[in-house]
């Protein structure tokens, strides 16, 4: 292989996504004929799948020109003076975002075919969204990462807004857009101050300067940190920047909600890891209490809000606020040079969270279409079981991915000396039972309110999506039993990958 060519190979997944998105735009007119061959869905699916496989392959077979960093075998390849950085974390994000897109696609297509949706553009926007997420992962400087987030955000605005016939979707997109722009401006302000503190926005430069800032510039950096944290908190829906999420999650069509709750949040967290663990690693002492406070607020308020909700979708929305709290626990535990374990844990949590919520929202979408959740287990046993499984994963039940993530993240809090935070997180888990259990009970109950028989059969794509995500939830969860040699090598891969992704931030 031509070494020149090989050196640029790590960019391939991202390039593929962007080109695929642009190609999808060209194909949009084809959809005018009603797209009987489903050209667009196939195209989008193929692009996402190839990006996923490509990223996986790249991770499994570190390519020429990638220097290992640290003992875990993590690698990093920089291009254009560090503006683009491909490493284990960015590849993982591509995999996650592509997987998110891929698993959402059938539901989205189904929703649009049921009507009320602009069919053509959504494929392009989905691909754009995933590429935006990929750019966040590959960004070598803060502003590029921010732009990636904006690409993702605007694509999601579009995805919500494409459902033009439903007033709630319009309301959702309006709120999301206005508040999103507001938050972006705040984040930009923060970045401006960070730029002021170090003279550059590239992560490497930030890291170098943040390690030993003179007091004056330290003050500037703190202003920047505060505003950036606020912007990030909005993106991940942490209290008190969370209020948009319930309305937007509710208003958007459920597949889009699922995509938002997973890909957008995970991407925002990866961005947060880049900014805080890489760029601002030197300020760990400063942002640790800040994030811990946000985490506590998110866990507390999120739980209280979730308990009072009557619509499952809003409950899940606030549940994801609570989960942001957990992830913030992990992020704040990663402060300091010994935070590798916490970063690793957070990465695993992100994976678990993404898969679990994808499954949950997919099931919710299917079940709410056909008679609601009451006694769904008798109408759609498999889908309802998958839903229960994902709810258990959200609770953090063992043998589900959720447990794995929760266990590792909470343990990292204890390890970081934030035992109080760990204990609060467990309290929060206890509180969260107050809304997860009723949902489970509702699914299993036989109140007789819903219809007795299934009317609508979920599409094949949807079924596969639910099956894949829930199987992965269990498979990763079973990783705790992954005793060398005879079970679930996937779990080991994940652990290894997470270790590398964590280590890449702590050279």
């Amino acid at each position: 292989m031509n070494p020149q060519f090989a050196a640029y190979l790590p960019l391939a997944p991202l390039a593929l996504l962007v080109l695929g998105a642009l190609l999808a735009l060209l194909l949009v007119p084809a959809s005018r004929q009603g797209d009987p061959e489903r050209t667009l869905p196939w195209h989008a699916g193929m692009v996402l799948a190839s990006a996923l496989i490509l990223a996986l392959t790249l991770w499994i077979r570190p390519v020429l020109g990638m220097d290992p960093v640290g003992p875990s075998g993590a690698f990093r390849a920089s291009y254009l003076g560090g503006a683009i950085t491909v490493d284990s974390l960015s590849l993982l994000l591509v995999v996650l975002a592509s997987a998110g897109g891929l698993l959402t696609l059938p539901l989205l297509v189904n929703a649009s075919e049921r009507g009320g949706f602009a069919y053509g553009e959504l494929h392009a926007l989905l691909l754009f969204a995933v590429s935006g997420a990929g750019m966040v992962g590959a960004a070598g400087d803060m502003f590029t990462g921010f732009l990636g987030l904006e690409v993702l955000a605007i694509s999601v605005y579009g995805l919500i807004g494409l459902e033009r016939s439903r007033p709630r979707a319009q309301e959702a997109v309006l709120k999301y857009l206005l508040l999103g722009a507001f938050a972006s401006a705040i984040m930009l302000l923060g970045m401006a101050f960070l730029f002021g503190a170090s003279g550059s926005l590239s992560f490497t430069a930030l890291q170098k300067s943040s390690a030993h800032l003179p007091p004056a510039r330290h003050a500037v950096a703190l202003l920047g940190l505060a505003a950036v944290a606020a912007g990030l908190a909005f993106k991940v829906a942490a209290v008190p920047f969370h209020m948009w999420s319930a309305d937007v999650y509710e208003g958007a069509s459920t597949p889009v909600t699922g995509f938002m709750a997973t890909v957008v949040k995970v991407t925002a967290f990866v961005f947060g890891m880049r900014v805080l663990l890489w760029g601002l690693a030197g300020l760990g002492q400063d942002w640790q209490p800040l994030l811990a406070t946000l985490a506590v607020a998110s866990m507390l308020v999120g739980n209280l809000m979730a308990i009072t909700q009557s619509k499952p979708k809003r409950t899940l929305a606030f549940s994801s606020v609570v989960h942001s709290g957990y992830m913030l626990v992990g992020l704040s535990s990663a402060a300091g040079t010994s935070g590798v374990g916490a970063a690793e844990a957070l990465v695993i949590y992100l994976v678990a969270y993404l898969l679990t919520n994808l499954a949950a929202f997919a099931c919710l979408d299917i079940l709410e279409r056909d008679g609601g959740l009451d006694g769904a287990v008798s109408r759609h046993p498999w889908v309802a079981s998958a839903f229960i499984l994902s709810l258990l994963s959200l609770v953090g039940f063992p043998m589900t991915a959720g447990f794995l993530g929760k266990y590792l993240v909470f343990a990292s809090a204890f390890e970081a000396g934030l035992s109080w935070l760990g204990v609060l997180a467990i309290f929060s888990s206890i509180l969260s039972l107050a809304y997860y259990l009723p949902l489970i009970f509702k699914l299993m109950g036989s109140s007789g309110r819903g219809p007795a028989e299934a009317v609508l059969v979920p599409g094949r794509g949807e079924s596969i999506s639910v099956a894949v995500s829930s199987t992965l939830v269990v498979a990763i969860g079973a990783g705790i039993l992954a005793v060398a040699g005879w079970m679930v090598p996937g779990a080991q891969w994940l652990a290894q990958w997470a270790a590398q992704a964590g280590h890449i931030l702590f050279p």
Binding site: E150, Y157, Q170, A181, L188, A192, G196, G199, Q309
Partner: protein, 99 residues
């Protein structure tokens, strides 16, 4: 002239924009408040660029302008869509979702 004056102006503009954003109900006003905030950010960038003598700030300002344009485009599209359906520019009308 030093850092403080431009930064204070930027802070003032940003705060006014923020204050307007939480106060106004008219969609266009909200959009313009955001523009105001973005402009304040730009001023900060330019100021620090001057301080560091780094052109990166200028570059960023240009890109922020483009970003503002993009956001405006989408926002206006939404406004058009909403106005078409609801015949109003009042954001408070859109409060159907709450528990």
């Amino acid at each position: 002239m030093g850092l403080q004056a431009p930064l204070l102006v930027a802070a003032a503009l940003f705060s006014i924009g923020v204050g307007g954003f939480v106060a106004r109900r008219n969609v266009f006003s909200l959009l313009m408040c955001i523009e105001l905030m973005l402009n304040a950010v730009n001023l900060v960038f330019v100021t620090f660029s001057r301080q560091w003598l780094a052109p990166e700030g200028h570059v960023t300002v240009l890109l922020v302008v483009a970003l503002a344009a993009a956001e405006a485009a989408v926002a206006l599209a939404i406004v058009i869509m909403l106005f078409r359906h609801r015949e109003t520019l009042d954001v408070d009308v859109f409060a159907s979702m709450k528990e």
